[in-house]
Symmetry: C2
Subunit: 348 residues, 2 copies
DNA sequence: CCACCGTGGGAGAGCGCTCTCCGTCCTCGC
DNA sequence: GCGAGGACGGAGAGCGCTCTCCCACGGTGG
């Protein structure tokens, strides 16, 4: 409509011609650098508006060697070998939603876009590496579902900018953010004891996950410090159903229980109906404390007392760490640990 | 380590030199086109392996005018004006996780990457448009949280390839996928009646959302066809808490209720404790049927009878539609409607 | 025996941008 | 009054790739 021949979008050249200046000057105005006479600047801006110019990202990337995007990798999701299954069934866990939201929230004002990737198989991991090497993304933030994920090491070896959500199981020279799980578990222990609970058990997460181990250890240490050296434990898998099953077992072995610390809210959500089913009123007979302060915590009856995990803030910091590595490639890995807080609701 | 001077990755030129052929030939091999002598092909492949070459995506995009990625836009999320808030609190809803998983699952084997974007504000919408115009993504799939979302129209006007999850409130010339909400609601009605329920109410979704309206209308029509012209309804907002509140209201006005159709699982999950709290046993006194077959359906006690919404398949189809539009820009919009199915569990 | 065609492969022109040079002009200071 | 130096803007060389030509060669039919 505006032009006759080319239906493709206007280029820097077109704008330059319209404004009567050189390409370089238009580029300077667009990128806001150096000293360009304000009158010229104005006419360039008008020409940009007139032509409807938008810079072509591919061309820019080609010369700047920056993609302006980062890979947001959900790693270790799904089963090995389930090549054609839908990935991201994990995304069903509200926890990932919060991480993604936090990362995206930090990146957005900086004009960086997150590219979603799943890396559950060896092939998928190779794709992530290729993706980064091809320069389609400047780096990767990684959130793993299980501890044995080899991707962090692969990234570190390849020298690609990356940052992790949660400390890796084996030490890897890579930046990460995490919460102080031990301190959070101590908060839960202190709270249950303060409420007068004395026969306290715990439902842990899968013990190959460092976070789950740390929560259990922290809880036991805190209990021991208060003179409770033995704390019965049932291991769960961080899912609703594993929470149910673990609660059944714990209750069968320790019917006299009057308090439970559950290592995440989803499992606690599963534990509540089991307690009710066995005639235990919560919080009257048994006090329950979860971990994460996820949406599950308020989608329970009674609403869950829980340990707040500042997931969004952590995810934002995660993104910040990554961008720092992208900015200055040589940088040494750093880790940032966040403090948890107790949120008291109705279940304790 | 391998080379002395350039630490940057090898280019087509380097590979060509190593294989003793021209750039063009290497390009042909890489892209698997035209007829290249198999001996040459072999030596080129070896050279690629030796140099560790990976094609530079920006350079390729520059000439092919294809980004190889699409925008996955969550639209209408969060409140207008909450500029600095974390976006994607919606991601907490497992429904979005399923959509994202389905889209990603389809795109992945095709080498297309989804770029996550949020478009809750006018500014964010402008960014999405600019993103597409800049050629950073070849098109957009859109999943909206509310009906008044202006983004579909903006995309259609701009002639950018796009596809929607769920039919837009106002007709827009754009492809979409949806489920047959009316048929799903009829399934629920038939089932409740078949189980002998006679005093049946419903909790609807927000009535400005077309899907919510269609479910309500379908339910009422099916009930009317069976001789139940009046069906009491309480409007909810598709969230856990709105489900609780709606159930309270419905029960207050119609204490004799023996069946409820709830327009999504999350609200049904909220409704169950309310029924229990008011002394109604589920399913003995009241039968409950949800909608979606989300993870919430199995994370309830009793487990929820619900209408299965094949979200992953729909999302895959959504991605397919988009890619079709990217492939052949002139294509007319099409819509694909999926059939729902009843999943009987314990709540009815 | 020559015109013709099909096939394999090279040369080279860009794609749209950034950025380094370098030239021009204007303003001071001595 | 003249040279130094700063401010401004243009020319042009690429970034790494694709793809259109075009050439060379061998086989075929008239």
């Amino acid at each position: 409509m505006r032009r006759d021949v080319p239906p493709s979008s206007p280029t820097l050249e077109d704008v330059a011609r319209a404004a009567g200046v050189s390409r370089a000057t238009v580029s300077r105005v667009v990128n806001g650098i150096r000293n360009v006479d304000s009158a010229l600047q104005e006419s360039v801006r008008r020409a940009i508006a007139d032509t409807g110019y938008v810079p072509n990202r591919a061309a820019r990337s080609l010369v700047t060697r920056r993609a302006g995007s980062v890979a947001l990798v959900v790693s270790g999701a799904g089963e090995e070998g389930a090549e054609h299954a839908f990935p991201g069934r994990v995304l069903t866990d509200p926890f990932f939603g919060r991480v993604i939201g936090g990362v995206a929230g930090f990146l957005r004002p900086r004009g960086v876009h997150p590219v979603l990737m799943f890396a559950e198989t060896a092939r998928a991991r190779a794709e992530v590496l290729a993706f980064l090497r091809q320069g389609e993304a400047d780096g990767a933030v990684l959130v793993s579902t299980h501890a044995e994920d080899p991707l962090p090491e692969l990234l570190a070896e390849a020298g690609l900018p990356a940052a992790l959500f949660a400390r890796p199981a084996r030490p890897v020279p890579i930046s990460y953010v995490d919460v102080d799980h031990r301190a959070g578990a101590k908060l839960a222990a202190d709270h249950l004891l303060a409420r007068g609970r004395r026969r306290i058990g715990t439902i842990s997460g899968p013990l190959d996950v460092p976070a789950a181990r740390a929560r259990l250890a922290g809880f036991r240490d805190a209990m021991a410090a208060h003179g409770h050296p033995y704390v019965p434990c049932a291991e769960g898998g961080f899912t609703y159903h594993s929470g149910e099953a673990a609660m059944e077992r714990l209750l069968a072995e320790h019917p006299g229980l009057d308090g439970v610390f559950v290592a995440n809210d989803l499992m606690a959500q599963g534990a509540l109906p089991v307690l009710r089913h066995h005639g235990r009123a919560v919080p009257r007979d048994v006090g329950v404390v979860g971990f994460d302060d996820s949406s599950a915590a308020t989608a329970c009856r009674p609403a869950l007392t829980t340990v707040r995990h500042p997931v969004e803030d952590m995810a934002a910091e995660l993104a910040r760490l990554l961008l720092e590595h992208v900015e200055r490639p040589g940088r040494r890995p750093t880790s940032v640990i966040f403090e948890p807080a107790l949120v008291v609701r109705d279940s304790s």
